[in-house]
């Protein structure tokens, strides 16, 4: 399985994300934001956390319109797997690949600590290894993770079982405690918590490893 990790100016979780895939046995290719095409044979795209373009204008806004952005959109439109974590989630909402928006935390504080999440659906490659109702601990590290969506959009997410993760205790004001959401075809995941910062015990927990192992298996089965 081949994973492409995008690096924007200001990305700072790209190497951690690459490590998550590599430790799970995937081949990783690194892609620069000025590239206009993905390498051949990519199965999964990882959009990492950080502060792309200094969070200018809005978090993720400039990155979502960068040269590689169109290639990511096209890949998703063809049914490709895309995972966006933290700033990556913000970028995917700005691209329109996922609904809603990430606003300033309700507390106005930058929050950096491990949080407990409840897996909200088994029905995705990302969450199947845990199973609905399972609890996992991933770190969060964000200032703008307050997920908001209009009432109609929220109803659609809930009705279509597209909430991937919920916070056990809401840290940032997100509507319906939402920590991560899926696209309609369930192949694009955006989430604020960092599974790539929980892949081995030395990091304080390894709950994230199963997500990367499941993704690493995608190309193998295909």
């Amino acid at each position: 399985m081949k994973a492409a990790i995008i690096t924007f100016p200001g990305s700072n979780c790209d190497r951690d994300l690459a490590m998550g895939f590599e430790k799970a046995g995937a081949e990783v290719v690194r892609v620069w934001h000025k590239d206009t095409e993905l390498p051949a044979g990519v199965d999964v795209i990882g959009v990492p956390g950080g502060f792309s373009y200094g969070d200018y204008l809005r978090c993720g806004a400039i990155a979502s319109r960068s040269p590689i952005g169109q290639a990511v959109s096209d890949f998703a439109a063809k049914g490709g797997y895309v995972i966006g974590i933290c700033n990556g989630f913000q970028i995917l909402t700005e691209m329109g690949l996922l609904p809603g928006a990430l606003m300033r935390n309700a507390s106005l504080k930058y929050i950096c600590r491990p949080v407990t999440l409840k897996v909200a659906t088994s029905d995705s490659a990302y969450t199947a290894p845990y199973g609905k109702g399972a609890e996992v601990v991933f770190p969060i590290a964000h200032h703008d993770g307050n997920f908001q969506i209009d009432a109609e959009g929220l109803k659609a997410l809930q009705g279509e079982d597209r909430v991937a993760f919920r916070y056990a205790e809401n840290p940032n004001g997100s509507v319906d405690d939402i920590a991560g959401v899926l696209s309609a075809n369930r192949r694009v995941l955006g989430m604020m918590p960092h599974p790539e910062r929980a892949i081995e015990d030395a990091q304080g927990g390894a709950d994230g490893a199963a997500l990367f192992r499941a993704l690493a298996a995608i190309g193998v089965e295909a």
Binding site: L57, R65, E94, A101, N146
Partner: protein, 79 residues
């Protein structure tokens, strides 16, 4: 020609930053402030001279980049 774009959160979207500013004003003794909403002003210097065309173009800029219309609304002034 200059264009000025005002970007504000849509009505009904909570603005925690505006609320923090309101609290701070209260601490300074400004008791009568009932609500604060914070937005952005973006000024553009445009090469063209056709006002209507400029407004249409800036509107497209707002839709594509300057505002996130999921949570934000915008107004355009051309001068």
């Amino acid at each position: 020609m200059k264009a000025r774009v005002h970007v504000m959160l849509k009505d009904g979207v909570l603005d925690p930053q505006g609320e923090a500013v309101r609290h701070a004003l209260g601490h300074l003794g400004f008791g009568g402030v009932e609500a604060v909403r914070q937005g952005k002003v973006i000024e553009l210097d445009l090469a063209g001279t056709d006002k209507a065309a400029a407004e249409a173009e800036v509107r497209e800029m707002c839709e594509k980049l300057l505002a996130n219309t999921v949570i934000e609304k915008y107004t355009i002034e051309i001068a």
